[in-house]
């Protein structure tokens, strides 16, 4: 089977953010991550495109994405002191949305840096 080759892929496992990785992937998973270190290989090879988890969970029960977004917005809106935290394993674009959301909520905003 032919694998799709992606040159100069970026690894976001550690702060080195190596941008010279060659990935060999089919539709479901990455088979090879050339030039990546042990940590990077594990990072790329352990994620698949399978539907391994439900779209969303509300109180432990499976739910749709739309329901979960409504529930999340309700909880955040009702709170007096909501906290937006983490933002490590995500993109800058998502981080920007988080900052704006925390601003609208009048809440707290923090990342791993403070640990």
């Amino acid at each position: 089977m032919d694998l799709k080759v992606i040159d100069n892929a970026t690894c976001t496992f550690c702060g080195c953010v190596c941008d010279d990785i060659q990935l060999h992937a089919d539709e479901n998973r990455i088979h090879q991550a050339k030039k990546a270190c042990v940590l990077g290989k594990a990072w790329f090879l352990n994620h698949t495109a399978e539907r391994k988890y439900p779209d969303a969970l509300i109180d432990g029960h499976e739910a749709t994405l739309d329901e979960a977004i409504e529930a999340a917005a309700d909880h955040l809106y009702k709170a007096d002191m909501p906290l937006v935290y983490g933002m490590s394993n995500t993109t800058c674009e998502a981080q920007r949305e988080c900052v704006e959301m925390a601003d609208h909520l009048g809440g707290l905003l923090d990342s791993h840096t403070s640990l």
């Binding site: 892929a9 080195c16 399978e50 909880h75 935290y85 983490g86 990342s111």
Partner: protein, 316 residues
């Protein structure tokens, strides 16, 4: 006072790792940026560079070092202060030296090497910034780097872990003026680590709703913080059902960044890198989900009323 890893690769002939284990935590740091690369200014690569490791114990990184200085645990601040004095030829007592666990000869040799370097760099890890003294240790090391510039070129850079945590700092600085530990509850950003930083806030039980993205505090934080996460509504966005998801009221599965979600991530020297995802995910990206939650909140009446200084009016 810092620089890019490209400058380190091309120019740094004296490299100090302080309180970190790059051989195991950043495996390609040596080969890609700091030690092994040859350049116009360092044509013999590793032979033209000197590497010093300062740590409390022997790790795998010791093998890569020319000099290993084993500092006594919790005495980094004292050691840095002594070095700051020694570069200015100020007297140091034997008792002060004994506290660090190092000898006068070792430190004199270190100081001579630092001053003789053409381009020196301190890479400091969590062994410095997260142990006794915390950010005061980092501040002391930055001061030492600044003061060494009276003799030669010297810079300092934190060794960041956790993927895009550097990006989080950069984005928060850009949007709010502060890098982390921010409160918007007066309608404008305020910065006060210790008061607004997550561990402290959770341990005190200050929040009544937690939104967790790209992190798993349920696996890493102290027990009182985890108990608080479970006691109020917590919302988790993650590619996996994590420890935190199991305590949470709402979990949303998202596409992993860089594997099936596109975007940007910052390298530890604050260089942004585009991501090239290899897989199509059945799940939406973090960006899309956060935007949709934000838009749902925005449809509700603003609890604060008129706000002329919103970030949206600055960056749309």
């Amino acid at each position: 006072m810092t620089c890019t890893l490209g400058e380190v690769k091309n120019r740094a002939d004296f490299i100090v790792y302080w309180g970190g284990n790059p051989a195991e935590c950043h495996p390609r740091h040596f080969t890609k940026y700091t030690l092994m690369q040859k350049s116009r200014f360092l044509p013999r690569g590793r032979k033209d560079r000197t590497m010093v490791l300062v740590d409390i114990r022997e790790t795998k990184s010791v093998k890569a070092a020319d000099v290993f200085l084993q500092v006594r645990p919790g005495k980094d601040f004292e050691l840095i202060t002594i070095l700051r004095a020694m570069i200015k030829d100020q007297p140091i007592s034997d008792a002060q030296l004994a506290e660090t666990g190092l000898t006068r000869e070792q430190l004199q040799d270190f100081v001579t090497r630092m001053k003789a370097a053409k381009f020196g760099v301190f890479f400091f890890g969590m062994g410095l910034s997260m142990t006794r003294g915390k950010h005061m240790n980092s501040a002391a090391l930055l001061t030492l780097a600044a003061e060494l510039n009276a003799f030669t070129k010297f810079v300092a850079m934190p060794m960041r872990g956790h993927g895009n945590v550097t990006g989080a700092d950069v984005i928060m600085r850009w949007q709010t003026g502060y890098p982390f530990g921010i409160s918007f509850n007066r309608g404008y950003p305020r910065y006060n680590p210790g008061e607004f930083s997550t561990v402290d806030v959770l341990v005190r039980g200050d929040t009544d709703c937690n939104f967790i993205i790209g992190a798993d505090p349920g696996a890493t934080m102290p027990k009182p913080a985890i108990e608080h996460l479970a006691s109020v509504p917590t919302i988790v966005l993650d590619p996996h059902v994590t420890h935190t998801s199991k305590l949470a009221r709402v979990h949303i599965t998202t596409a992993p960044a860089g594997i099936s979600a596109p975007g940007t991530a910052y390298r530890m020297d604050e260089i942004p890198m585009p991501l090239r995802p290899a897989l199509e995910s059945p799940y939406p990206s973090d960006e899309e989900v956060v935007r949709r939650i934000k838009e749902t909140i925005l449809k509700k009446p603003d609890w604060m009323g008129e706000r002329p200084q919103m970030l949206t009016s600055q960056v749309g």
